[in-house]
Amino acid sequence: MRSYTDSWSPSIAVVIWRILALLLLAALWFMGDAGTEGFILVFALAILALARWRFPLPSWTTLVDQLLCISIIPFWPEAGFGLALPLFETMLAGTPLFSLPILAVLVICYVDPDLPLLLMLVQASFAGWIVLCWSKQTHQYRLEADQERRDRYELEILKGELLMANVQTAQLAELRERHRISQKLHDEVGHELTAALLAFQAFETLWRENDPQAEDMFAQAQMRLSSSALELRETVHNMQPVQATGIRSLEGICRNFKAMPVQLQIYGDTSRIAAHLWVILNASLKEALTNAVRHSKAKHVEVSLDVNEHIVRLSVQNDGVLDSSSLPGTGLRNLRQRAQAAGGSISINTSGGFQLVCVLPMGKGGIR
């Protein structure tokens, strides 16, 4: 993967521009008849450029460059080209006011400025301005990219938390339902049964004494028993969910899938599987069946559900030919996250058709 530091960046452009400007000045010194002064100027400007490359120098340091150039100009007129460097730096730093001495020199010393020098200075200020705009833009893009990345991470975390909350809600709902049933059995059925028991005990005593009230007591006990039987039937009837749950929902999905024949095999005690795991198993089965229709030309699907005391394993295998360009999509990714939230995992195998295996832990600790 290429990082942004490898690519063409404003800092590289700045270094290249500085080197070219210094080379031009060095060439002017080499070809001209200037002596030590020219050499000292080029060298000092090179050192300042080196220092700027090494540390972020403040903008006022360009005044040093300008002072150097201006003091050498009387001995070596081509030193005016050296002014391009501070001009570039001031534009690059976004402080063009620091280049005022350059303008003053142009007005005072070069009343009749020659064209190459003017062109060089204009080019320097333009290059500085362009690189400044470029670096500002790059900085802005980088900030935006960072912000987006941060947002994405936050969303991922939120998603994980939501999935965890889902599992916890399912467990809580199960507990509440259990509590409701126990309360109902205790308050209504249990109460009636106790009353019936007491009535029978009273009947037994009265019957032994041949009391004529024994008959009444028997009828009352009978009535209490039949009423508790009715309560029990009603409670059981209310407990029965309208929608199919558990293994029935899995069977329902396979039965209602008409695109190709589905063979479902179940091993183990499915009643041990918790409610929140059934949600994931159903979603996995649906996803695998949808994939079989959409991405492969499968003719047959085999579904097997294994349950043991530690894990539940759902395997969905089709005999289709996988499209080589297809990669794991959003559905599979979401499924994987949901399985991970429950402590399990989703794996796929593409050798010989497409196989999706969902493994979930039965306990709370997750798969070890």
């Binding site: 010194w29 050499f39 000292i40 060298f43 090179a46 050192i47 490359w53």
Partner: protein, 228 residues
């Protein structure tokens, strides 16, 4: 100043370093006057010898980098600036001390040759600093100390040729004479000749200033590489 003390002790601990630092002045001093420039031969070649000595000393920093000592220093509460500055100060002190010995010997043995010993000492010590920063800049470009040393020898020879150590610079074409100004050895010879003539100290300021500029430039390049 623990690093400074350690660098000082470490520099004189090995035999090759001791020979370079103590044996060299003896060899420089005893060589007779000769050649086209009217200088004692030892003093003529002393610039090159200083470059070798500096490269030998700075080599220790490279060894530190290679042996991951610099990485270990990086986790200690010592800044890279502190490490580098104290090491370089120790090396500079050794070479400036050597230059002082050489200057004293010149006063004892070649008093008739040199016009100004202060000028001689100042140019020798300034070139010592330049040589150290040049070695630092050079070694920062290489990963392996061996390859650095091999190329360094070639570069020092080129600098010797350009600077006018092996033959008079006036024998070179005008354009090459101008290019020679890019070599620190040129300014070293300029300074030595000025010291020999014994003119005003103000004249000596040009080579001294340019050597200082060289030292700053090489230091800026050399201090960039921090950890291996």
């Amino acid at each position: 100043m623990t690093i400074f003390n350690f660098a000082l002790i470490r520099s004189v601990r090995s035999l090759p370093n001791l020979i370079l630092l103590l044996g060299l002045p003896a060899a420089v001093v005893v060589l007779p006057v000769g050649g086209w420039h009217g200088l004692p031969l030892g003093y003529h070649f002393y610039g090159i010898l200083l470059l070798f000595a500096a490269s030998k000393l700075v080599h220790m920093i490279m060894e530190d980098r290679k042996n991951k000592i610099l990485t270990r220093i990086g986790v200690a509460p010592v800044t890279h600036f502190k490490y580098l500055s104290q090491n370089l100060l120790a090396f500079a002190l050794l070479l400036v001390g050597q230059s002082a010995v050489i200057t004293c010997s010149a006063w004892l043995m070649h008093a008739d040759v040199f016009g100004s010993l202060i000028q001689l000492f100042s140019i020798l010590s300034m070139f010592s600093v330049t040589a150290i920063s040049f070695s630092l800049a050079w070694s920062s470009m290489f990963r392996q100390p061996e390859s650095s040393t091999a190329v360094m020898l070639g570069i020092i020879l080129i600098m010797a040729v350009l600077g006018g150590t092996l033959f008079p610079i006036q024998a070179m074409p005008a354009s090459l004479q101008k290019i020679a100004m890019v070599s620190p050895t040129y300014w070293f010879h300029e300074g030595i000749m000025l010291a020999k003539n014994g003119g005003l100290f103000a004249e000596q300021l040009t080579p001294l200033g340019i050597l200082l500029l060289f030292a700053i430039a090489f230091m800026l390049i050399g201090s960039r590489k921090k950890l291996a």
